[in-house]
């Protein structure tokens, strides 16, 4: 293991990590927004939109991100829709993540008993006030484990971005191995950088999960 070599590769890896993080987190934030909207549409059975959302969720939960990206990046341009690689990456992640987040949030909603909603309505709260002040806070704590798991999953999925020529960590590692054959050094750095991206999230996630579990509201 040649540490000099590893040090020389560091700047490349750091650049790559920045790209991964940028596209990754944009995708994740978008997926939370999409997922939340979908969960509301599904749980409250909004006509038409609810059904479309259902189809979207099944489609994106049962197909791999890599294929989705290929379709977006190589397939859509044939119809005249040219999307640049970074946008593709974020979009693909957002669409995939949205489907997973939708399920996580929906199970949160379903954990709140209807009679809680009724009790709020009987006091005169409007439906919107009921959702904001009574349903959401309770739904949130139930969704946390799945939510954390999804974020970790989505960050791991960013490892396929190299397939659409984005110069992320995998791309950098593969490239460097191909050029200089320092396989062990490259792979070690690869592992280290993914640990840097993911370990903090995993640890933070466990802490939040535990806090929320002990705050438990049940009788």
């Amino acid at each position: 293991m040649n540490f000099e070599v590893m040090r020389s590769y560091l700047p490349l890896y750091i650049e790559a990590m920045k790209l991964t993080l940028k596209i990754g987190w944009i995708g994740i934030v978008l997926s939370v927004i999409i997922g939340f909207a979908c969960a509301v549409a599904r749980h409250y059975r909004i006509p038409v939109i609810g059904r479309i959302v259902g189809v979207y969720i099944e489609l994106f939960r049962n197909t791999p991100l890599l294929v989705q990206l290929f379709f977006l990046y190589f397939g859509l341009p044939k119809l005249g829709l040219d999307i640049n690689a970074e946008v593709c990456g974020a979009l693909g992640l957002a669409l995939l993540g949205g489907a997973y987040m939708a399920e996580a949030f929906r199970s949160g909603f379903e954990a709140v008993e209807p009679i809680q909603t009724e009790s709020a309505l009987s006091l005169g709260l409007s439906p919107v006030q009921t959702v904001v002040h009574v349903v959401l806070p309770q739904a949130f704590s139930v969704s946390v484990p799945a939510f954390v798991a999804n974020i970790i999953f989505l960050l791991k999925e960013t490892s396929v971005f190299s397939a659409i020529s984005l110069m992320d960590l995998m791309f950098t590692a593969k490239d460097l191995i191909g050029l200089y054959y320092k396989t062990i050094e490259c792979l070690t750095l690869l592992v280290i950088f993914y640990l840097i991206i993911l370990l903090p999230v995993s640890i933070l996630g466990s802490i939040v999960e535990r806090k929320v579990r002990y705050a438990g509201f049940g009788d």
């Binding site: 709020a120 009987s122 006091l123 709260l125 409007s126 309770q138």
Partner: protein
């Protein structure tokens, strides 16, 4: 007090509630609640008493007839349903306090959000009401830290602080351990003494006898008998009422 001359607050006319063609819960039910009355509704399980209460509060859609408040018909889709729900308070069998809020927050949530009252003023009244039911010290606790009886008393306060004109109580002691039933019923008795309009669904017969101005007996979705507590409990007119009351009395055991 001549109650029939008092204002008609809630008028239920020919109410019909069914889930599908075969499952008819309420058939052609008509009932009027006057201001200042305490109406107690009794009947066997599954007869539709809770459903009736939920219809009055527009928590259930109805398939026939109408419900009006001070002469104005309403249902779940009415524009002013939130205003009407402020006038008709409801306390549930399972208390349904909001688990993520403290007792004080539970009680002041609706006054602040719905009636747009000032936070200090709402909290002041909340503390007064909590004090009257003996729960002032629990104001910063969470529902999970309270006993069933305490939670139910908070639920009643949460409903009262909205200043409703009619209070509905849906078997509010049915889920409680026997020792806690009394503390809750005492609250209801004091509310009745204050002259409030109440509609109470209950199984507690001696309580019903003490608190009711009028007893309504419902069986299989229709009103079978109606009358003063003395009339109903001592001299029931219908056979079904008699059978129902029998389920609460036992003859002394004669050893064979």
């Amino acid at each position: 007090m001549v109650l029939s001359m008092a204002a008609e607050l809630v008028k239920i006319e020919h109410l019909r509630k069914q889930y599908d063609d075969s499952n008819v819960i309420l058939k052609d039910l008509s009932l009027t609640i006057h201001e200042g009355e305490v109406v107690v509704i009794v009947g066997p399980s599954g007869c539709g008493k809770s459903t009736l209460l939920r219809c009055i509060n527009a928590l259930e859609p109805i398939q026939g007839g109408s419900i009006s408040y001070r002469g104005e018909k309403f249902d779940a889709r009415s524009k002013n349903i939130t205003a009407i729900r402020q006038k008709i308070g409801m306390v549930f069998q399972s208390y349904e306090l909001f688990p993520h809020k403290t007792i004080l927050q539970n009680v002041t949530l609706a006054p602040i959000l719905v009636q747009k009252r000032n936070k200090q003023e709402a909290e002041k009244e909340a503390m007064e009401l909590l004090d009257r039911v003996g729960l002032k010290e629990k104001c910063d606790s969470y529902p999970r830290q309270l006993s069933g009886g305490q939670k139910q008393r908070v639920a009643i306060v949460r409903s009262l602080i909205m200043h409703p004109e009619v209070q509905l109580f849906d078997e509010v002691t049915a889920a409680l351990d026997p020792e806690m039933v009394r503390e809750v019923l005492d609250v209801l008795l004091s509310l009745a003494r204050q002259g409030r309009t109440m509609v109470i669904v209950t199984h507690e017969m001696s309580f019903a006898k003490a608190v009711a101005d009028r007893v309504v007996f419902i069986d299989k979705g229709e009103i079978v008998e109606e009358g003063s507590p003395a009339e109903f409990f001592e001299h029931p007119k219908t056979e079904r009422a008699r059978q129902f009351l029998n389920t609460f009395t036992y003859d002394k055991v004669e050893k064979e």
